[in-house]
Every structure is written in C-alpha cells, then in structure tokens.
C-alpha cells in the first residue's frame, strides 16, 4: 500500500489524554494515521482501545493533547465537530441501528439530514450500498428482523452512506455468533482493499494479520507497540504484548 511518506495524514493524535474521574484511561497517546491505511488496534480489556477510538469523533472529549482530523482541530467548536463527524464514520459493537426505521431509512436518514441529499438520490445510493454488503433484498425490513451479522453489515452500509474518509470500527464482530463473524469480516476485507482509511479495534487476530497494514497494541492507556502485522505477531517487543498474544492464541 505504498510507503507512509507519500500518503496524506488524515488523523493526527498528539499526546492525547483522557481521564474518567481519577482513572487515567489514556496517557499521552500519539499516533498519525494516513489515507488508505488499515490499522488494527489490539490490547487487553480495559486498556483504552474504545476510549481512544471514541475520542477521534468526540463521543468522548479528550482532556489533554490535540487531535487533528483532515486538518481540522477537534475541540468544542460545534461547526468543526459537525464537519468531522461527516468525514468519520463509526461502526459499533452492538450495531446501534435505528430500531424504529427500516433498513433503507437507516441508510438514508443521515445523507438526507446532514448532506441535504434528495430522497431519490439517497435511496438509490442506499440500494447500491445494500447490494455491496449483500442485503439488497432486506431494504424494507426492520433491524430486529435481521440476524446479528446482517445488522452489522447494514450498520457498515449506513456509515458508508455518508462517504466518510475514515471508518472507525469498535469490535465489530464481538457481539456476533461465531457463524456470522465471517460474513462481516468479508465485507470489511472488501472495504480495506477499496482504499478507505480504517481503524479497527478487534480481537480477530487472523483479520488483523491478514488485512491490516499496521498493528497498534494498547496497554493501560498507552501505545506499547506500533508496528507492522508481521512485526507484531512474529516478534513482539514487549513482555505485555507477548503474554497478550499467547493468551489470545490459547483462547482460540
């Protein structure tokens, strides 16, 4: 996927800190993510992976350091925030599809409200996206009528409907029954090869190894390793990463 030097940085986190009460969830986290890069974020439970991801679209407000998304500084300015949220899509562990809307309306709501797209255009786009994730025939169903794997694919299509430059995934397959994991990973794999920038918090080491360009290992609110998949899986530098990997391997 080319060297980092000729790719444009799209997310820059500089010494980002976040505390919940007296608990320091993130300490001086710095990382730059480039256009088209697919980054797997791994680490033990409670290490701050979700918190980091959520600071990037300000579902959590960081309390120190600086985050710059596509040249816009993330802060309290509401216009900046809206601009950033338009460019950064998010896929949640529990899908969070709008339960009162059909699949089609789930996909058209934000483009119509936020991008002011006409209904017909938004629906045409939504149908194309549903076809892409293999769910064209489910457009008029409600989320509860779908399986978990189908719901997560709809959620991915919903995020794509806004044409985001970056997609954040927070453990997109963790809530799924094992037989549904692959259909979601297949969609994500296809997305990764299409060139969209992705940050994926995941416990799927196979996916990280095969699809990611980069692996970031979080532990106790800091980035302990930031390297290539080969580097991380065959030759982790820290004891914590080694024991994490051996636990994950034995767990599967």
């Amino acid at each position: 996927m080319g060297s980092e030097a000729d790719l444009r940085p799209i997310i820059e986190a500089r010494a980002v800190g976040k505390r919940f009460g007296s608990f320091q969830a993130l300490r001086d986290v710095s990382a730059t993510f480039h256009e088209g890069q697919v980054t797997a974020i791994v680490g033990p439970s409670g290490s701050g992976k979700s918190t980091f991801l959520r600071t990037l679209n300000r579902l959590e407000a960081h309390d120190s350091g600086e985050i710059v998304i596509d040249g816009i500084v993330l802060g309290d300015d509401i216009r900046n925030l809206n601009a950033i949220r338009r460019e950064v899509g998010m896929v949640f562990q529990s899908f969070n599809l709008f339960s009162h809307l059909t699949v089609l309306r789930n996909l058209t709501l934000a483009p119509m409200r936020v991008r002011r797209m006409a209904k017909a255009a938004a629906e045409e786009k939504a149908m194309n996206l549903l076809e892409r994730v293999g769910l064209k025939t489910q457009a008029s169903k409600y989320p509860v009528q779908l399986s978990g794997g189908q719901q997560q694919r709809v959620a991915i299509a919903r995020a794509l409907a806004m044409d985001p430059k970056v997609l954040l995934f927070d453990e997109p397959t963790s809530a799924l029954d094992p037989e549904m994991v692959n259909e979601v990973l297949a969609v994500m794999r296809e997305l990764a090869y299409s060139g969209i920038t992705m940050l994926v918090v995941t416990h799927e080491m196979g996916f990280a190894r095969e699809v990611a360009d980069r692996v970031i290992f979080f532990d106790e609110g800091v980035i302990l390793e930031d390297t290539t998949p080969e580097g991380f899986f065959s030759n982790p530098g820290h004891e914590r990463a080694k024991s994490f990997l051996s636990q994950v391997r034995h767990g599967f």
Partner: protein, 252 residues
C-alpha cells in the same frame, strides 16, 4: 403514499381524531328517541361536542406540555429541571377540581386588564395543565427508555442534537410513551366533566339540566353514561390497536 406503514403511530392517532369527529356528529340521531331524550337531543349533541372539544384541546396541549416538561425534567440546567419537577409535583398533588376553580377564579385577577377568559377557556387551560403533568412522566420515561447507543449512532453520523432528538429520540420515546399518553387522553374524556363546576355546559352538565327540567333522572343519566361509554370505549379500543401497531420493529 405508504405513510401508514412508515408512521403507524401517527396513522392511529389520525384515526382516533377521525373517530372523535364521527362521535361528535353522532349525537344527533338522539332526536329520534322519545322524551325526555328526543326533545333535548340538540343539548346532548352540544354537550358531547363541548366534552370532545375540551378533550381534544387539552389532550393536544397536554402532549406538547408533556414533551416540553419531560425534556425539561431531563435537562442539565438545574433551575429548568426544578421548575418542571415543581410543576408535576404541584399538579399531581392537588385535586383537579381545585385546579379548575383556581384557573377560573384566580387567573382573571392576575390577567392584564381587558383580557377576558371564557369559562370554556379556563376549563381547557386547567385540564391542559393537569393532563400535561401526567404526560410529563410518560414522556420522561419514554426518553429514558431510548438506548444510549441510538443517540451515539446518530451523533456519529453527524446529526445535530436537534436532529437527533426529532428523528431518533422523539419517535422512539413516543413508541414507549404513546400507550400511556393515549390512556391519559381517555381519562381526560371523563375528567372534563369537572368543568361543570365552573358552568361549562359539557355532557354531564347537560344531563344535570335536562333531568332537572324533566324530573326523569334515570333515562337522562343512562343516556349520558352511554355517550361517555361510547367515547371511552372508542379511545381504549384505539389505544389497544395503537400498542399492537407500535410493536413494529420492536419484536421479532
């Protein structure tokens, strides 16, 4: 337009209004009945119209008040929260009859010079405030029942807080709150009879007058009761249908 399918809740609401209008005119066939009912048919019709009118006006205003005060109770702004808490506490802790008398007797003394409030207006104001307080609790519970993930998904897609409220929180909370709101509306049909105390000529007052002229309380009050029963049965039937309709997207 498949409006009915997209918004079953609002379609039911429209049906309810239609039924009320129908009942409103239906008091006329009473003219065919023997004395003391037949000769007083117009009075019964007028009384039913006033009752339905009071119910509709106070019912609609009560929903608006309920939504606003329900939101106010969840506000982060202390004084607003206290104001709404105080309002609900005051209304629910005092008799409706007292509230009606208060609006009728006390409000004119604090109104600016030249503003005349009719008896009907006073009754409508008191009933609106009363049902609004009960609605507030339903709306608040409905809003609290919306999973936080729904709000996060909307915000992550770039919807503004207002859009998130109108497109996601309100419809989902109404799905929870509507049955209880419809119940409050059905109670309002009966509660509106207390307006007779401030000489509003609604259904109960008509019954009182007609029996006083004819000295035949039994047929008169049986007729009045029958009209109330038709009105309340219509409401409860619609409420049940509404609940069934609203299960769309709720269960598998």
């Amino acid at each position: 337009m498949n409006w009915t399918r997209l918004y079953p809740g609002w379609a039911m609401f429209a049906a309810m209004i239609g039924l009320l209008l129908f009942l409103w005119g239906m008091a006329l066939p009473l003219a065919a009945l023997p004395a003391p009912i037949g000769p007083a048919a117009e009075q019964f019709a007028d009384g039913a119209r006033i009752t339905v009118g009071l119910t509709l006006i106070a019912g609609s205003a009560g929903v608006v008040i309920g939504v606003l005060a329900g939101l106010g109770k969840l506000s982060h702004f202390g004084p607003l929260r206290w104001f709404c808490d105080g309002y609900v506490w005051l209304i629910r802790g005092t008799p409706l009859l007292l509230q009606i008398l208060f609006v009728w007797l006390a409000l004119p003394t604090i109104m600016p010079e030249g503003v005349e409030l009719s008896d009907f207006t006073c009754a409508a104001i008191a009933l609106s405030l009363n049902v609004g307080a009960y609605n507030t609790e339903c709306v608040r519970a409905g809003i609290l029942a919306v999973p936080h993930g729904q709000v996060e998904a909307a915000r992550a897609l770039g919807l503004t807080p207002l859009q998130t409220f109108i497109d996601v929180i309100l419809p989902q909370s109404m799905r929870v709150a509507l049955p209880a709101l419809a119940n409050n509306l059905a109670s309002l049909v009966k509660d509106s009879s207390l307006a007779y105390a401030i000489s509003v000529v609604e259904l109960t007052m008509v019954g009182y007058r007609v029996q006083a002229e004819s000295y035949q309380p039994i047929p008169v009050f049986v007729t009045i009761a029958a009209i109330y029963l038709i009105l309340t049965t219509a409401f409860t039937t619609l409420t049940a249908a509404l609940e069934a309709q609203l299960d769309v997207g709720q269960k598998r």
